[in-house]
């Protein structure tokens, strides 16, 4: 096995071009489990932990650009106020030990349907920036994640960053697990209110082959808010509409039975999480609960 340790982004891209089979590692919280259990024996490992460019975040084109190597602890501490949905999701990842190492870049690399960072990215229309020696491209996250544990990276590409707008309204993330901490989600749901665009962003996690954005539910609730002029008046969402929103989300989930939960339980919980998170976020928007 070869071990390659670039110290700059350019060197990293060169190495990936020269050895397309090299497996990138940053936090190692997914890669090391594979290695420790001899599930994979790559010909080469490309360590990205010394590439300082990947540790940076800042504003670009009016959006936040967050390097693929920023770990969950830093997401919560440094940009949690700008990205409350992603921060809530990050807080649920593993344990302090895991959050000190694990990164959103690694979550995108693994592309698990249970990846906690993914639903908040979907709900806010985030884009993934990938690069190779030929240049870089930006891919909407829903196109980047192409299947269970599959993403749109080519052999010569690496993930450099993701782009996401500063929260322009309340956001929520809710996750069901078999205990409070250190669990893979049985089901999860991210919600983002975008008052400026008068849109509600959604995404179900862990209830399908990929995270699922529920456009039907977004359109439905968008119509209810428009019709009642609720964005403007900040009036309450009728209970029946909240329930219908939950039903539409449950109906869009495509869960499977596995050791962590049955498909039926997952579908039901997706609906409950959707209804509750919308209720919480809307109350916050109205100024009833927490600060907007």
């Amino acid at each position: 096995m070869e071990f390659i340790q670039p110290t700059s982004w350019r060197e990293a891209l060169e190495a990936k071009a020269a050895l397309p089979g090299a497996v990138p590692i940053r936090g190692g919280t997914d890669v090391m489990v594979e290695l420790n259990f001899a599930r994979s024996r790559p010909q080469a490992i490309l360590d990205l932990s010394r590439v300082e460019e990947l540790e940076e975040w800042g504003i670009e084109d009016g959006l936040l650009r967050v390097g693929a190597g920023v770990n969950y602890t830093r997401i919560v501490e440094e940009i949690g106020d700008r990205l409350p949905g992603l921060a809530m999701a990050s807080r649920t990842v593993g344990s302090p030990q895991i959050r000190n190492r694990g990164t959103v870049g690694g979550n995108l690399g693994t592309a698990s349907p249970a990846g906690d960072a993914l639903p908040p990215l979907y709900a806010s229309d985030a884009e993934v920036e990938v690069a190779s020696m030929d240049g870089s491209r930006r891919v909407p996250v829903a196109d980047f994640i192409s299947g269970p544990k599959q993403n749109a990276l080519s052999d010569n590409e690496l993930i450099s960053a993701f782009y996401i707008a500063n929260a322009d309204g309340p956001q929520q993330y809710s996750k069901i697990g078999t205990r409070n901490a250190m669990v893979i989600a049985v089901c999860a749901f991210a919600l983002a209110l975008h008052p400026e665009q008068r849109k509600v962003g959604t995404c179900v996690g862990s209830a399908g082959p990929t995270p699922i954005r529920v456009e039907g539910a977004e359109d439905f609730i968008g119509g209810v808010l428009e019709e009642g002029d609720l964005w403007q008046s900040r009036g309450a969402i009728p209970d029946a509409a909240l329930r219908r929103f939950g039903e539409l989300v449950a109906g869009a989930a495509r869960p499977i039975d596995d050791v962590r939960g049955t498909a039926e339980y997952r579908r039901h919980s997706a609906g409950v999480l959707a209804r509750r998170t919308l209720g919480w976020a809307w109350e916050e928007y109205r100024g009833v609960r927490g600060a907007a």
Binding site: M1, G28, T29, M32, V33, S95, P96, Q97, R101, A181
Partner: protein, 155 residues
Amino acid sequence: MRLRLRVNGEAREAEDVWEGESLLYVLRERLELPGSKNACEQGECGSCSVYLDGSLVCSCLVLAGQAEGREVVTVEGISEGDGLHPVQEAFVEAGAVQCGFCTPGFVVATHDLLRRVPEPGDAEVREALAGNLCRCTGYEKILAAVRLAARRMAK
């Protein structure tokens, strides 16, 4: 490959390190520091917790080469001199140690919590130690040990 790093304040070297090896393996098998325990090798139990450049990590999930030139502190290095660290004393006094296998990981994780949050509430303690498993104590005594250590260190 050859690995050079600082462990518990000393420059150390390990020879013939396999490229796919974990930092935990290097510490235990090559540097004769068996304090960090190997139980799960998948980040679930926390018994291999160490500081890497001041950050609490599972050493089983750090690739050895990633630690090149870095600073590692293990449970062997958290006390000064030959005495026990107040966290270690508290674990002994509170009876938070039974078979002891999980103890080094708990001690390092508790050390990390108390340096960040000197007077943690129970919920904070539970959250901070969620990545450490114990098969023997039932955790109540561990919680008591953390409270005891916090009280003493706050003085």
